[in-house]
Symmetry: C2
């Protein structure tokens, strides 16, 4: 029962923060949406700001675990591992797409929370991506190239469907929450990764297109 | 004098909206930052919301004109034109980087303003990019591929330095407002465009690398 209440409050908060933003959402709105007494939000979470921060860190905990596990599942080949990271991170974000959208928007602000998330979770994400790309280059399968902008671009493609969902919907009638969209997006990503990383001749063809 | 006052108010508003967001900025803050009487903001702009909307549409007017002119300057070759669009749009955003950042953050919200911008300016941007990519494919210089996700990715790379400036700064010590950053970024983009579009054999090599 206690867990049910906590879960309903969190779900209600995600729906409202996603729709109206942090400042546009009051503790009263959340209590009403979750159909709980307003005092329970302070009791369980310590208030609106703390609840919001918990949602953000919850998201990144799952995000980093997803990356780490995807790498360990395919630890013999950087090309397969990077596709696996992409696919699993996309699936993870899709499983909580309102939260993902809320979090990525928050990350465009310049706040203490954002700096903390960057120095912990995004630092880990950078480490994992950098290790994978370096491994692929050392194996002779990826073209050698400067790592920083490559990592930035890879990360950006991994979160794109959840940073601009309205743009995709309004201009292209694409729905990131849709399973078909995700399959098409992953196919685009696979071709893009293959060309960008310039897979060398000793790499078996077609890299990772096995999924499709 | 009147133009000076209008310009100071707009500049002050950009600095504050960029830093504290729309809700975190009051008309009083703007008046104080611009060192003008608070009543002038209503007089010239009709209030905070109208001033904010004017800044957003100002940004997109310049953005679309930049794209349109870049295409007309290079109307013989889609590959050269798309690089020219990229370079000029990056330069344009850099010339007003606080405003660019403020606008791109606003575009992650689901508001009436955002829907209006999408149905006008971003519809035009889509039209220009689509025309260019189709032209390159018709000329036999670009690999034929589905257009929608390609346009989304191209657009995304064009605004990336201004959608995640803190991420670039905190994790990679990269400063999008720096001229050297922009040259490096454009070099990365040029290689990426070349591989992504899969320039065909009848395209002269190295495409557009002439800039560097």
């Amino acid at each position: 029962m206690r867990e049910d209440t906590r879960a309903s409050i969190k779900e209600a908060a995600v729906r409202l923060f996603h729709k109206n933003g942090f400042h546009g959402t009051s503790v009263r709105d959340i209590a009403k949406e979750a159909r709980v007494n307003i005092s329970l939000i302070s009791y369980y979470f310590g208030g609106k700001r703390a609840l919001f921060e918990l949602l953000v860190t919850d998201f990144f905990e799952g995000y980093i675990v997803t990356i780490e596990q995807s790498i360990h599942l395919d630890n013999n080949d950087a090309a397969a591992a990077i596709e696996s990271v992409f696919w699993n991170v996309l699936q993870y974000q899709q499983s909580c797409h309102l939260l993902a959208r809320m979090v990525h928007r928050e990350m465009t602000l310049d706040s203490v929370l954002v700096r903390e998330v960057m120095s912990t979770y995004l630092q880990k994400e950078k480490y994992f991506l950098e290790s994978l790309l370096k491994k692929g280059m050392a194996e002779g399968n990826f073209k050698r190239q400067p790592l920083d902008l490559l990592i930035v671009q890879v990360r950006n493609m991994m979160i794109l469907p959840f940073t601009s969902p309205q743009y995709l919907r309004e201009l292209f009638q694409l729905l990131p929450s849709d399973a078909n969209f995700m399959l098409r997006y992953m196919k685009h990503v696979t071709v893009w990764l293959k060309t960008l990383l310039g897979m060398s001749a000793n790499q078996k063809e077609p890299v990772g297109l096995s999924l499709f």
